[in-house]
């Protein structure tokens, strides 16, 4: 066992860990030693090839196919320098006020979170993409929404020099996306923070953390870790857990904290999503240009779904189209004519849905689709189909229908189909990438894991600063809110530095 010692150890380098690292990094100038431990690798710029399977293997946990315990949904989350900010599309929304008010966390004021989110929006160059850079896949969504009088909105995105590769979810090959891998982590490192990649946090003891540094696999992408492969015991005066909504609760459970924190792992939400595709009778620009420029939020509260433009890669598209055989292949062969919409259900905390660990300590996510989630996905799918047809599509793949292909002539039957959907978990391809909860903020151990500043209840040197803090679903893309909450945690640590360090 190799022993190391730091003042502060941050576990994870995504939206939460990156923000914490940057905000704490001025302490390095006063002599503090800070390390960020990241389980995934750091890739060199030239290693971002945009090739689907190799990038998914390099940048995602389980290659992007992390299965829930029920095996009815896959979860996609980053496992690389920058965490999921290396693989998101950069959509940057401020937290909705109604959601933060519903969370009702004492001392968590909306205005404070909003102000901090705006700080990161400025820091990460969040802006609206100019019209000339919008592709037809996005424009057709706008056309369809407007034809139906829906209030379509443009996503602010955190890009700098976007060339429109459309490969955001495979790691931007042009380094245009301003995630923590491009902004916060390099600044933190400049100020003296050490980032140790390929370092897996195993468990936390009293002011100490046990970790394993993995060797770079033969033929694998990325730089080797700065540390020799092996087992480590890392002493730290403060530990900040930012490993995401699956791995943060799992780490704390492995550390034996579930008994004193009965809510640990509970409250997991994830915006379960289905990918809708439709075929036009002419090629459209879809795999060139930023993939996610518009969204439709007006049904979030009333019908529990959110629509976003999207454009995925061949295998991801193939697995998202339900069914198989010739009907499936026909949509795949139409790729240059495909328009895509992502339907996200606005799920809410459910007693069944939680993170646990298996006998080997690996995270297990239990998730069942509540009737409300199923209704949200069905309504969202049918609304998407209406938008596709209003935009001129000739046929739509409707995975919640008995017969998956709906021709334009049958568009009038959509509401009838919605009334009798064929929603079978395991048949309908569902995935999620907005993973939240598991270490929720709240009043005390009876209802939560941390307070409003990320302090784990009863353990003054242990903090959480990532999406696992959310007491319930955010109902929009979460990364600016994660950064805002992480900023609060970092500020708290700075204020308490004289006691902690």
């Amino acid at each position: 066992m190799i022993r190391r010692s730091y003042d502060i150890v941050v576990v994870g380098s995504g939206a939460g860990g990156g923000a914490v690292a940057e905000e704490l990094s001025p302490l390095c100038r006063q002599g503090a030693r800070i390390a960020v431990l990241e389980k995934g690798p750091k890739l060199r710029d030239e290693e971002f090839t945009g090739r689907e399977l190799e990038m998914a293997q390099a940048l995602y946990e389980d290659g992007g196919g992390f299965l829930t315990a029920e095996r009815t949904m896959t979860l996609a989350f980053g496992c690389a320098y920058g965490g999921s900010t290396a693989v998101y599309t950069g959509t940057s929304l401020l937290p909705p006020q109604r959601i933060l008010e519903r969370w009702n966390v004492p001392e968590l004021a909306y205005s404070d979170v909003e102000q901090r989110a705006r700080k990161y929006a400025a820091e990460n160059n969040v802006h609206f993409l100019e019209n000339g850079l919008l592709n037809e896949n996005n424009r057709l969504f706008v056309d369809g929404c407007r034809a139906l009088n829906y209030r379509v909105q443009q996503f602010p995105v955190n890009l700098r020099g976007c060339r429109g590769s459309s490969l955001c979810n495979l790691g931007c090959p042009n380094q245009a996306k301003q995630g923590t891998d491009r902004v916060q982590l390099p600044r933190a490192e400049q100020n003296g923070v050490e980032v140790v990649t390929r370092c897996e946090a195993l468990r936390i003891g009293e002011k100490t953390l046990f970790a394993r540094v993995h060797e770079k696999p033969a033929g694998g992408k990325g730089e080797p870790s700065a540390w020799e492969p092996g087992e480590y015991q890392i002493d730290a005066k403060a530990i900040v857990v930012c490993a995401g909504a699956v791995n943060s609760p799992a780490l704390l459970i492995r550390s034996g904290l579930a008994r004193r924190l009965p809510r640990l792992g509970h409250g997991f939400t994830c915006h379960p999503a289905i990918i809708m595709v439709a075929e036009h009778n002419r090629p459209i620009t879809n795999f060139v240009g930023h993939p996610k420029s518009f969204y439709l939020y007006q049904f979030a509260e009333s019908d529990r779904f959110l629509l976003e433009t999207c454009m995925y890669f061949p295998f991801t598209t193939a697995k998202s189209i339900a069914g198989f055989g010739e009907e499936h292949s026909r949509f795949m062969r139409a790729f240059p004519r495909l328009q895509m919409i992502l339907v996200l259900a606005c799920d809410q905390v459910d007693a069944h849905n939680r993170v646990t660990i298996d006998p080997l300590g690996r995270p297990v996510v239990h998730y069942r689709f509540t009737p409300e989630v199923m209704r949200g996905l069905v309504r969202g799918a049918v609304t998407s189909a209406k938008i596709f047809f209003a935009a001129g599509a000739v046929r739509v793949h409707l995975p919640i229908a008995q017969s998956f292909t709906i021709q334009r002539a049958d568009a009038g039957r959509l509401d009838q189909i919605a009334a009798h959907p064929d929603f079978k978990p395991g048949k309908l391809p569902i995935s999620a990438a907005h993973l939240q909860g598991g270490c929720a903020m709240g009043r005390g151990p009876a209802d939560s894991v941390t307070d409003a500043y990320g302090h784990v209840h009863g353990i003054p040197w242990l903090f959480v600063a990532d999406s696992s803090l959310f007491p319930d679903s955010l109902e929009i893309n979460p990364y600016l809110t994660i950064m805002a909450l992480a900023d609060r945690v970092a500020e708290t640590i700075r204020k308490e530095a004289h006691q902690l360090l």
Binding site: G50, R71, R163, V288, P314, F324, M332, F335, P336, K427
Partner: protein, 132 residues
């Protein structure tokens, strides 16, 4: 021994039913497809790999009860009917098992550069600046 080697014949028959274009693959194409699947399965729990093989064996022999012949000996339309039953099975466990096999078949098939070219997908890091 790889995960697929004991069940290679039935896996290939399933792939050809899921993605009919796979019937045109030569031996090199199949090797590429199966190598992609093996990489995706690397590091998965041993129990999951056993279940995967078991499910493929079940597909092969349950067809005997319905058609009097194993899955690999069925006509394409009969194979499609067998898989449709699994996809719509009342038991979620069976549907999920099929979903897993289907996903691996699609990963192997559409993970190949040749299949990507064939469907006309041509995303490129140069994005808008690439003459098209």
């Amino acid at each position: 021994m790889t995960t697929l080697s004991p069940v290679r014949a039935v896996f290939r028959a399933v792939v050809c039913t899921v993605a009919p274009e796979a019937a045109q693959l030569d031996e090199e194409g199949w090797r590429e497809l199966e190598a992609l699947v093996e990489v995706a399965l690397r590091g998965r729990p041993a129990a999951m790999l056993r279940q995967l093989r078991w499910f493929l064996v079940a597909i092969q022999w349950l067809s005997v009860f319905r058609y009097g012949r194993p899955f690999t000996a069925l006509r394409p339309d009969q194979r499609a009917r067998v898989l449709s039953r699994l996809q719509d099975h009342p038991l979620e466990l069976i549907r999920c098992g099929f979903w897993g096999i289907r996903t691996l078949a699609l990963l192997g098939f559409y993970g190949r550069a040749e299949a990507v070219r064939a469907i006309g997908y041509a995303a490129d890091p140069r994005g808008w600046s690439l003459p098209r």
